[in-house]
């Protein structure tokens, strides 16, 4: 059963110069301050309050994100809309957003890492509300948020998680978003040919994966037991790891969008656009193409390397001094599988570039075996150390000195009479066993081809 997944991702804008909320001068550092201290009549929705002009830096960052996502930027006017709903987290009873039925988004029809972007826009964050205590903290209310809405182009939970992770890496790398402030997502999941289910309140990468996995299972199970699926909105409960029904399509909320009368419309000027274009990094798509054309990489390797900004940067830095194919193999096959095994993200691992360069060079010059390199990586992702010293200390350089290897081979032959007998009976496997024993004695540093030849000759 083919699954289709689409996302509505909310990310926090990273502000560097103008660290204030979207429509007032209250600071945005809500995590560092006690509740309800970063507030004013505007972000608490006092009667008579009016918004200030939107934070210009936040708006420009939103355009930056639109460009990174290869979105079109509207040439006409952009107007904030009022999205009405009655909830304790909204002090004015409406949210100011560039989304909505009649709005012109900041960016439209983009594509990022093979997933189509429907549109993206800027809006204000609601307050933080605890439904159990009823407590509302307005510190968060009015902080600029970017919403990115995708087409249903993703097919499973892991792919979705990886896509979002790579998106966050790329956007935070150019300081468009603040990854540390978190992510809020709504996930749309449906089995092809069946109605779409929207899951609300999925607020971490891990939960995105878990919520999708649960939802696919739930839908499959329902279909297998002959039930019909309906279009509905569900909410993700991370404590129980399941999704709970909220409402059906017929009960969908009418947000009664109207253009915000208290704000003038905004137009992105040519100069503004040119200025922002300069900051925008190469997209994964064009990077992939470049990797294939310039470095003659295999398509799959180019795809993997270009989809993650940090990985791509490491790759291009190493190949300035080392072999392209060896480096690609080292990163794509070895490093990623080691990270994967330990459930680590490349962004969170402290990798010393000089170290990796050295490792790649040693491999390219055939001074260490792939086996050795992999063992080093396993330790390296846990804690950074000098590879050079490590290789020296543990005597890990490839031993190609024939006389030295011959001594070890003779010793192994002497110690394993049973294997010799088997080999002479014609069992090829026995040879592999003997080579393996030599490798063990040399801690994997022997050149396996040479060892193979020596043993054959000795026998």
């Amino acid at each position: 059963m083919k699954v289709k997944i689409g996302l509505e991702v909310h990310l926090y804008v990273k502000l560097e110069n103008n660290k204030t909320k979207l429509f007032c001068f209250c600071p945005i550092n809500y995590k560092e301050t006690s509740p309800n201290t970063n507030i004013c009549p505007r972000c608490t929705g006092m009667p008579g309050n009016k918004p200030m002009l939107p934070n210009k830096e936040a708006f420009e960052k939103a355009i930056e994100v639109a460009l990174i996502l290869n979105c079109g930027i509207p040439k006409g006017y952009i107007l904030f809309q009022r999205k009405h709903y009655d909830w304790p987290d909204l002090p004015n009873g409406f949210q100011k957003t560039i989304s909505g039925t009649y709005s012109v988004p900041v960016g439209y029809e983009g594509k990022y890492n093979n997933v189509r972007i429907s549109y993206m826009h800027l809006e204000e964050d609601p307050a933080k509300w605890d439904p159990i205590t009823g407590y509302v903290d307005y510190n968060r209310c009015g902080i600029p948020l970017i919403e990115i809405v995708t087409e249903p182009d993703l097919i499973d939970s892991e792919e979705t998680r990886t896509w979002v992770r790579n998106l966050m890496t790329a956007l935070s790398y150019v300081n468009s978003i603040d990854k540390d402030l978190g992510i809020k997502a709504d996930v749309n999941v449906n089995i092809e040919g069946h109605p779409r289910v929207e899951i609300k309140n999925v607020n971490s990468l891990a939960n995105i994966k878990k919520a999708i996995e649960y939802e696919i299972l739930r839908q499959q199970k329902a279909l297998l037991s002959g039930k019909n699926l309906v279009q509905e909105t569900r909410t993700y409960d991370d404590k129980q790891n399941l999704t709970i029904h909220m409402r059906y399509k017929e009960q969908a909320q009418d947000y009664m969008f109207i253009p915000e009368p208290d704000l003038p419309s905004i137009q992105v000027t040519k100069d503004q656009l040119e200025k922002i274009k300069k900051i925008v990094p190469e997209s994964p798509e064009s990077k992939r193409e470049r990797f294939v054309n310039k470095y003659k990489l295999k398509k799959e390797d180019a795809e993997t390397l270009s989809s993650n900004l940090k990985l791509a940067e490491i790759f291009e830095a190493i190949i300035k001094e080392s072999d392209i194919n060896v480096t690609a193999k080292l990163l794509v096959r070895d490093l990623l599988s080691v990270l994967n095994y330990d459930k680590l993200e490349i962004e969170n691992v402290n990798l010393n570039l000089e170290n990796l360069k050295y490792l790649s060079k040693m491999l390219a010059e055939n001074k260490i075996t792939e086996n050795t390199s992999k063992k080093i990586l396993i330790d390296l992702v846990k804690k950074d150390f000098s590879i050079k010293d490590y290789i020296k200390k543990h005597d890990l350089e490839i031993k190609s000195d024939k006389s030295e290897l011959e001594t070890i081979c003779k010793q192994v032959i002497k110690e394993n009479p049973k294997a010799i007998e088997d080999y002479k009976k014609g069992e090829e496997k026995a040879l592999n066993f003997l080579v393996g024993m030599v490798m063990k004695k040399t801690k994997g540093t022997a050149n396996p081809d040479i060892v193979n030849n020596i043993i054959k000759k000795l026998l």
Binding site: P47, N49, K50, T101, P264
Partner: protein, 452 residues
Amino acid sequence: MIQEKLRLLQTGKLTAEQNIKSFIDKIKKEDKNINSFIEVNKNAVQEAKELDKKKKKGRLFGLAIAVKSNICVKGLLTSCGSKTLSNFYSPYDADVIKKIKQEDGIIIGMVNMDEFACGSTGENSFYGPTKNPVALDRVPGGSSSGSAASVAADFCDLSLGSDTGGSIRTPASHCGIIGIKPSYGRVSRYGLIDLSMSLDQIGVFSKEVYGSALLLNIIAGRSENDPITFDNEVEDYHIEIDKVSSDLTIGISKNFNDLCQDKRILGLINKKIDEFSKKYKYQKKEVDLEYVKLAVQTYYPLVYVEFFSSTRKFDGRKYGFKIEENCGEEVLRRILGGREISKAEHKGKYYRQALATKNLIKNDFDNAFKKVDFIISPVVPRLPNKTTKKITDPKEMYAYDAFTIPSNLAGNCAAVINIGKIENVPVGLQVICPSFKESLMFNILHKFEMLK
């Protein structure tokens, strides 16, 4: 008189304390019959005493200013004339209040109004109807009923009101005083509790043109607190008031006159225009304002939708009372109307059509102002109704604002000055000027003042 009083206050021959005390005494004695104040500022006398100690005196030094109850004054009851906000003591000052305080004006109290500025008569208040001090059996006009009545009754020197469709000009006309609706974007609305955000504007009342000119000069100007305000220079309206302006052309529109139900009002206006044009040798010219006949139909969808949106914050969670469960009939009508019009199923067509017609009306005025310098019209199509005869048909009530609404839709400035009485009830005349031509407007008002 106000200029003379300011001189006495500035030279210390009259203290701020004396000025404020005399008003407070008068309010205590006489406001029982008028009901113009919802709350008198208990600290006003104390504030005046403090001011009297000051060496450098501001431009409004010691003047008593009454404030419509939808403009936030820190520590005072900003009730909007509604039970919904009957517990709301504002924690902050509106921009206009800050400016008045900086110039040593004293807020004497919060005055009565139609609930949330919804009404044209001054009768729709949780705190009871306001009476017309100059024609006690008639309504004072609304929604800034208390602002007009308090000035007319000499309970204060000047007052602030708000005008969305005529809420300053109608009561100014009925109470026989000056009322000014500035151009949209001239005065910061930060701290003004919304009726219809795309039309609301704070304005002023006074007995003489000079008082309004001075107060507007102080409260006008760009503010970062209200992104809709403009950078246009704030002229010295009060100084330029008797500037000699020759060769002006008066615009008169048949489209307005056709809507005037009481022809006696039209007669009085025409008489005044003749007198005026003769004295100052100004030309008269007919202008075509084809779409003003649609003003009322255009206005209400905008007001309904924006009022619905702006009242969502009165959900009962923060201010104690949920608006729908505590408001009067007219407020509820507008909220429910706005909710209906805003529904997704209508795809925004009513609101957008209203916005489109709003532009037509604006174009009418823009074209007219290419031919004439200002337009004169009646303020209200009829005399204020008797307090015993409440208008109950919303259509009839809404038609009350047919002459005042067009200027809100077009965004230009307009003012009212008294030109006499019919049946012993004051009748005003409306001067409509292009956007940001307030200086010209005060100049013309002053010339009418000199006719008397």
